[in-house]
């Protein structure tokens, strides 16, 4: 059955309460895992990391800081969202003011492919993050399965 979600993302991945010293390591892990699942090209992790260095994606929202790392569609085979909640904050930089460092513990790696649907994915993702109840759930739910359900309902 085709659900609404499957129009915008092929799959949603969630990793909760991991500890990372820095984001480079995290992007490499995400890239490796997704490449194994044939969702991205083999060098996706490296591309994501390089892209974040040049154009960071930290956002300050009403309900907390988040990052939405993403890179060129040419490295993405299937559209996805990969959510990560870290045990401790790591430092990233603001998208609109890269000279400003911000702590984040919540990241949504957005696997954009080409096409109009990707705009809908970003719009829905930001609507979810601007919803106080949903934002709280992203911080509080205690299982990846539940987190995925909450996210899927929003996309």
């Amino acid at each position: 059955m085709i659900t609404e979600t499957e129009k915008f993302v092929s799959d949603i991945f969630v990793t909760l309460d991991v500890t990372k010293e820095n984001l480079q390591e995290l992007y490499q892990d995400v890239g490796n895992e997704l490449a194994k699942k044939n969702m991205v090209e083999s060098d996706y992790g490296k591309q994501l990391q390089q892209r974040e260095e040049k154009f960071p994606t930290g956002l300050v929202t009403k309900f907390g800081n988040v990052a939405i790392p993403h890179t060129d569609a040419k490295y993405v085979k299937e559209p996805f969202v990969y959510a990560i909640r870290l045990t401790d904050d790591v430092i990233t930089r603001r998208m609109d003011q890269p000279e400003t460092e911000i702590p984040v513990n919540l990241l949504f790696v957005l696997g954009f492919t080409k096409g109009e649907d990707q705009l809908v994915l970003l719009t829905k993702m930001m609507q979810a993050l601007n919803n106080e109840r949903i934002s709280k759930q992203f911080q509080q739910v205690d299982s990846p399965e539940r987190f995925k359900e909450v996210l899927k309902e929003q996309l």
Binding site: R51, F55, D96, L119
Partner: protein, 98 residues
Amino acid sequence: MKALKILSVCGSGTVTSSMVANKVKDMLKERGYSSTTVESNPNGVENNLDAGGFDLIVFTSPLKKKDYGIPVINAIALITGMGEEEFEEELDAFVANL
């Protein structure tokens, strides 16, 4: 009245800038102006501007600091939802100067 021409800039020049471009287009429409938008990454700004006729630049990833001869507004509020009123005030100031 001619349509306003807006350059919308983000890191990739695709998704985030498209979301901003659509919102700015709607906001200008509410103010009685039609507009067309072009999306770009920061490196493509000068090339795009060379095509001419642009009235405004909005961005979510910063551009090189220089005088582009047209107003430049930070539009991150249209992504994060934080500071949307301030953005609309800046847009009002731009419209008032047309």
